[in-house]
């Protein structure tokens, strides 16, 4: 009887121990220790040239969750110069897809967290920089948006003047250790990864005159024969019998091209070769039959291409091949700007009409003439 009792008691004891052990295991009191590797670790730099500053954008996928007050430690190797590096140079973002969904820093899509020396409730990361190259982030306490397993984390060292590459060609391995996981990444430092590209563009300028009835091209010598003048009409470039002057120009001068005109006789205008005192004067005025005058104007009917009329020529309107009352500009022996551009131009064109009228008492001569000189200047 006693023997049976002892056996039964021991059996019950074993049963009890077994049950209690099962309960303890299932309750998680004894937990299996576990550590995993971070994945998809990258460091995108802005410079991999030795002895230069670089921004670092470090991304990784956290295999395990990072809970409230969890830590992320970046241990950079010796070689970097981090003078002046402060937590204000740091950003940290995290999220399920890009790793930038939420965090502390301008790079985060939702910049609702902050970084301080010590972590705080809900959204305040703590960050410390120890030694010269170890950065430790501590997640907020009672974290509103903790990093779940599989989430992506982005750490950015923002400032380009506080994190300098070593002054040698090398490769640098940095370790990342979170509360549960670890990993590392390597970056290359080269003598230089910059390539300077250079080129030059030679100065060019083209300038050509034509004299023709309808504005087509011609060769030298260039001339405008006004024909026989009468007091009953104004003779002018008319696209039928009397030539016009065509100015063509082009340049890659950054300041464009300017064309000037001057005449041989100045205000004396058309002067008789045999009797120089006899002249058809040149003055800025509206042409009229029976009123002596000689001058030129820039076509205002729309043919001006690329050029802009300058000075008095810009206001001397109308000026057309069909008008006997063109407003002309008086000529001078000093160059006066007639057309110009302010930037490089190709295929610029301007038509200039020559006009003359006489009074009834104009001395008769067959040799009234003038010479117009056009000059082009590029502003390089």
């Amino acid at each position: 009887m006693i023997k049976k009792f002892r056996e039964s008691a021991f059996s019950s004891f074993v049963s009890s121990i077994t049950i209690i052990s099962l309960v303890m295991i299932m309750s998680g009191i004894w937990q299996v220790a576990n550590a995993a590797s971070l994945t998809s670790i990258t460091d995108t730099m802005t410079s991999q040239t030795q002895n230069t500053f670089s921004k670092h954008t470090i991304k990784f996928t956290s295999t395990s969750a990072i809970a409230s007050s969890g830590t992320i430690v970046l241990a950079f190797p010796a070689g970097y110069t981090t003078t002046g590096l402060v937590i204000g140079d740091l950003s940290i973002c995290h999220g399920t897809s890009t790793g930038l969904e939420v965090g502390a820093g301008a790079a985060c899509t939702s910049n609702t967290e902050t970084i301080a020396a010590t972590n705080g409730a809900n959204t305040v990361w703590g960050a410390t920089i120890t030694g010269t190259t170890t950065i430790t982030f501590t997640a907020p306490t009672t974290w509103a948006a903790p990093v779940s397993a599989g989430f992506k984390v982005t750490v950015i060292i923002n400032d380009n003047s506080h994190f300098k590459n070593p002054n040698s060609v090398t490769t640098l391995n940095t370790t990342i250790t979170t509360t549960s996981d670890s990993g590392s990444f390597t970056v290359p430092i080269a003598d230089s990864t910059l390539v300077g590209v250079t080129a030059n563009v030679t100065q060019t300028i083209s300038f050509d005159l034509d004299t023709s009835i309808a504005g087509g091209t011609s060769g030298a010598p260039y001339s405008v024969a006004l024909g026989t003048l009468t007091s009953g009409a104004v003779n002018h470039s008319d696209a039928s019998t009397i030539n016009m002057i065509v100015i063509n120009g082009g340049t890659n001068a950054p300041g464009g091209i300017s064309v000037t005109v001057q005449n041989a006789n100045g205000a004396n205008g058309l002067a008789s070769t045999s009797t120089p005192a006899d002249k058809i004067a040149s003055a800025t005025a509206t042409m009229a039959a029976g009123t002596a005058n000689y001058g030129i104007c820039v076509d205002s009917s729309g043919s001006l291409t690329g050029f802009t009329a300058q000075g008095t020529y810009a206001t001397a309107t109308p000026c057309t091949t069909a008008s006997s009352t063109n407003h002309v500009v008086g000529l001078t022996t000093t160059p006066a700007a007639i057309v110009a551009t302010t930037a490089p131009v190709s295929g610029a064109l301007a038509k200039v009409f020559v006009n003359a009228a006489i009074v009834a008492s104009q001395p008769a001569h067959t040799d009234y003439s003038d010479t117009l000189t056009f000059l082009a200047t590029g502003t390089f």
Binding site: T18, W30, I41, M45, V195, G196, P254
Partner: protein, 269 residues
């Protein structure tokens, strides 16, 4: 008899349970203000011995083990630890030269001088070398499991005059054409020992021996990938980048057009 049978079954179950219980390591970090010992377990035995011709690392009955580190040390207690035989690595180097070879190495500073540009022709790198502008080459080795990329950033997004920064030869993704102002780069020859080196759009269009036949990708002030390794490791990677430029009749005359291209190699570990 039945009671004995039941008794031995229970006893067997208890010992089985005890066996598995004792196999489970209990991890709890040991911390102080200056270090953390992660997942430690305690053991006995182990040591290190060496002579001129051998090294011996031994471990005893390890019932406690773990990794400890601080800013100045790391240690692995109570178990055999071997450094990663294949640690993360990446090497990257630039060369610029104008010969027809593919493996020439040069040193910094790296430059491509396009010389005097003319509206009558496209100027750029050719495969034949021989006095033409330098081509850009890079060497890349990376063992990141996620592969590597090479990116390019332009300082100005164009060839800019230093004296008149507003005067530029713009950069656009397009086929090069004489008389049409444009500046860009394209990916040309590439080779590897292991793995692949892929050209990436917009730099992967026609790019070869004749600048006037090239279609270039626009360079920008943001990083753009020009080559990748297809998401896998690469050894002996060698890639070529050609530079082309053309001007129009109205491209402002300057002797100081320039741009700086910054190349970055990034591996995913």
């Amino acid at each position: 008899m039945v009671i004995k049978k039941h008794f031995f079954i229970k006893l067997l179950g208890f010992f089985l349970l005890f066996f598995f219980l004792t196999s489970i390591a209990r991890g709890m970090d040991l911390t102080s203000t200056s270090f953390i010992v992660r997942d430690p377990i305690v053991g006995t035995g182990g040591g290190y011995g060496s002579s001129a011709s051998f090294q011996l690392i031994s471990a005893g009955n390890t019932t406690l083990s773990g990794v400890a580190s601080s800013a100045s040390f790391s240690t692995h207690y109570g178990f055999l630890y071997y450094p990663n035989p294949n640690p993360p690595s990446i090497t990257f180097d630039i060369d610029t030269y104008n010969t027809s070879t593919t493996t020439t190495t040069t040193v910094a500073p790296y430059s491509v001088s396009l010389g005097t540009l003319s509206p009558a022709a496209v100027t750029g790198t050719t495969e034949g070398g021989g006095g033409t502008p330098n081509g850009i080459w890079f060497s890349l080795d990376a063992n990141g499991a996620g592969g590597a990329i090479v990116t390019v950033v332009s300082s100005g997004g164009a060839l800019k005059s230093t004296s008149v920064p507003g005067d530029t030869i713009p950069s656009a993704t397009a086929a090069m054409s004489a008389g049409t102002a444009n500046y860009g780069i394209c990916a040309n020859r590439n080779a590897t020992t292991t793995g692949v080196l892929n050209k990436v759009s917009p730099f992967a269009s026609t790019c070869g021996t004749t600048p006037s036949s090239n279609s270039v990708g626009a360079v920008t002030t943001s990083a753009q990938t020009i080559y990748n390794t297809g998401g896998a490791a690469v050894t002996g990677g060698r890639g070529e980048i050609m530079v082309d430029a053309a001007i129009s009749n109205t491209t402002p005359a300057h002797t100081d057009y320039g741009d700086t291209l910054t190349f970055i190699a990034t591996s995913t570990f």
